[in-house]
């Protein structure tokens, strides 16, 4: 009898002429947390989809709990006790939390639904995992972080012995990550094997028992987190040493270019004041739901506010529609790239020029030649890796998709940009490129506001960071004060801390 939960030997998967996985090998010990690291496009998601029965492998063997398996559909994978929590959540927003958790067996074996039973059961499950969620609440009303907790609960409600988590912490903030980790440890103690896919190395080192690095569809190396360093993993992932993820904070700061005074949005934001100078990168920290994204929504004309004013270059600006914002030179790289940031089905070039089509058209007629050369120059400037400029944005990796969104704003020539989670779902290499682009914008004299749940990112990138909690700005940190504990102590609501 083997003590491996999963054994993968020589697995191949091709798409057209492209090898997504070639001679792929992986051994996952039972009852461990096994991390899979690799850049986007390295083959992690292909591997996951083969394990969950969404893709059929072209060759090689997959052994689950000592038995060879050949999944041809997701049901077979589930029957073997493999559960998966995708990065993109698969919940029905109009159903309640409990309904989502028990969606495939609402009747609990019967034909009618016993709502009390379902709700109680869901409530007990959620409590046992430490998720503070009302099972009767509509999922669409929950924030992304809470939706993910529901997704995890849904997966754990089944009898899973192998749980695959794809970038589970991408949408979580501090305390929520702690909750997730304590749950993973609890599951591990119960003998559940966890395959943990993440870009965030600090987390991997905290939770993983073993690390496998994947690059270009092959296993590069297996590492032991007890003996190796983060640097070793990064080196294996990108194939060379990555010096520093963050550019130097050496930009010349100018006058205050953007200012928010006494901004109040009923029930969400209370008397927010902040300033951003030319060439300055200002961070906005806080837990999910603290009001960071809501500020961005007010700045960009997506949501209205009751009191306060927004000033740019000393002049008050009135923004009631994103179009107003863009006209004022204000851009937003939104939180949800796939829903808000890019039109995935449309061409890369079309997305790049969308916000300023007047630049490539005359009397409403598009000059395709001009558009192509403009898109090509943006592609070169941002080093976007693509096949053809006319390919849909969906064909790109997360990092390159984000660069297309950035290209859109570079094309507009915004001098104030808000980045909401700019590196979510983006691999290490592309991350450092995005930081460099942000730094480059600051050097050109843009004022920049960066919202992020990754504290390291804010500390590494920003000159100054405002910390938010429950709709208030609770502090402002810069220079040596800018540390993780300092941010966290300001971010955690007072009544929770005491």
């Amino acid at each position: 009898m083997t003590n491996y939960a999963i054994e993968i030997r020589g697995v191949e998967k091709n798409f057209g002429g492209i090898r997504a996985l070639s001679n792929f090998n992986l051994k996952v010990e039972k009852g461990t947390v096994h991390a899979i690291c690799g850049e986007n496009g390295a083959g992690k998601s292909t591997l996951m989809k083969i394990l969950s029965g969404i893709y059929i492998k072209d060759g090689g063997t997959v052994v689950v709990h000592g038995e060879e398996v050949n999944f041809t559909n997701p049901q077979q994978s589930r029957a073997r006790g493999i559960g998966i929590v995708h990065q993109e959540l698969a919940l029905s927003p109009d159903l309640s939390v409990a309904e989502n958790i028990f969606l495939d067996d609402l009747g609990q074996g019967g034909q009618t639904v016993n709502w009390k039973e379902i709700n109680d059961k869901a409530g007990r499950l959620l409590t046992s995992f430490g998720f503070p969620i009302d099972p009767k609440k509509r999922v669409g009303d929950l924030s992304v972080a809470y939706q993910q907790m529901v997704e995890i609960t849904k997966s754990l409600a089944k009898d899973v012995s192998i749980l695959i988590l794809d970038e589970p912490t991408a949408v979580l903030a501090g305390p929520e990550i702690e909750i997730l980790f304590s749950n993973l440890r609890m599951l591990k103690a119960k003998g559940v094997t966890i395959l943990y896919i993440s870009h965030r190395l600090e987390e991997i080192f905290r939770i993983a028992d073993a690390i496998t690095v994947v690059k270009d569809g092959v296993t590069v190396t297996d590492l032991d987190p007890k003996t190796c360093t983060e640097k070793d993993v990064v080196t294996a992932m990108v194939g060379r040493e990555l010096k520093s993820l963050y550019p130097p904070k050496d930009t010349k700061l100018g006058d205050v270019h953007f200012e928010i005074r006494h901004l109040t949005r009923r029930g969400v934001l209370d008397d927010i004041n902040l300033t951003v100078r030319k060439g300055e990168i200002v961070g906005l920290a806080g837990l999910v739901g603290s009001g960071r994204t809501e500020i961005a929504e007010c700045i960009f004309g997506i949501a209205s506010y009751q009191k306060g004013e927004i000033l740019k270059a000393g002049q008050p600006v009135r923004v009631s529609h994103p179009a107003d914002a863009v006209r004022q030179g204000i851009g937003l790289v939104p939180e949800d790239r796939k829903r808000q940031g890019a039109v995935l089905a449309m061409g890369i070039d079309e997305n790049m020029t969308m916000s300023k089509l007047s630049g490539v058209s005359k009397l409403g007629v598009i000059r395709h030649g001009q558009e192509t050369s403009l898109a090509a120059s943006l592609k070169d400037k941002l080093r976007i890796k693509l096949g053809r400029l006319t390919d849909p944005v969906s064909s790109l990796s997360g990092g390159n998709q984000q660069k297309v969104v950035l290209a859109k704003w570079l094309n507009v020539g915004c001098d104030f940009l808000v980045f909401d989670e700019p590196t979510r779902g983006v691999d290490v290499g592309a991350k450092s490129e995005i930081y460099n682009i942000i730094h480059g914008l600051a050097e050109e004299g843009c004022a920049l506001l960066v919202i992020s749940s990754e504290l390291v990112e804010l500390i590494g990138l920003c000159h100054r960071v405002y910390v938010m909690s429950e709709g208030h700005v609770t502090g402002e940190l810069s220079g040596d004060q800018l540390t993780e504990p300092a941010i966290m102590s300001l971010a955690i609501p007072k009544r929770m801390a005491s």
């Binding site: 798409f15 194939g239 914002a325 079309e350 790109l396």
Partner: protein
Amino acid sequence: MNASASGAASTPSAGQGAASAKQGRFSIVGLLLEHSTFVVFILMLIVAMMLSDRFYSVTNLTNILRQSVPLGVVSLGLLFVILTGGIDLSVGSLMALVSVTVALVMPGYGLWGAILAGLVAGTLCGVISGTLVAYFRIAPFIATLAIMTVARGVALVASKGQPAFIDNVAFNDFGVNSLAGLPLTLYVLIACFAIALFIYKKTVFGRLVISIGSNEIATRFAGIRVERYKFAVYAISGFACAVAGIVASTRTGVGSPILAIGFELDAIAAVVVGGASLSGGRGKVFNTIIGALILSVISNIMNLMNIPGYHQQIVKGVIIILAVMLESLKLRYASRS
């Protein structure tokens, strides 16, 4: 290929992988599926030849082309609405309203006055639908359903429920005469097709209409006033209905309040058979015209074979289902590779 700071420059990235996979997918099946609307049309023409020897007579072909003009024009207008993810159910009623308007205005204001009044009436109805959808955020289905009923009602009231005869030789001749061997009205369709193709392919407007249908939120987040475009597509559809209503009246010589009842379903069918997605963002001008021709040819074949009208409805319904199934097959084929 670019040098990359990530150090992964020497190997293909995910993006390039997907792109070249797309190029590598070059099979006969893929090609046929890609141009499925056209393939279906050709097959239909072959089948028509086998079913009836009268199909390929000049008279019959001219007839088909003439009949397909109103449907083609309306479908082109409707395509823009459907591209945004909307729907326009009012098209048949608008045609009736326009035809009645033309007939009633003609005696007092002459040929051009009547045509102008017809165009204004149709466009105005489209403007109302557009306002309801874009600015009052009423679901397109509901807003245009209401306009459909109202327009039909106005047409019936204005004409007192009676067909109004149009007494103008030039007007009525337009519907039956030919130029260079092709029906005059066909040139109207050709012109509409050219304009629609230009808007779709070349203009900022066409680009943004497609973008709104693909992802309205992201389009708005790009700083586009999506409301304006959503408004405009209904006005365009109204205008197209006006053109179609006028053309239809030139053939019959009457302004009829019961013209084009149920026509919205034919028009939606033509657009969908042409491969457009009712959820928006996908659809082509050329394929829409082919879709309209396919529907016209089906009717024609069944008429030639003396299949009664009621039976024809059943066949049409089945063909629409097959077309949509083919479309989803196509999507599945595309996503598998």
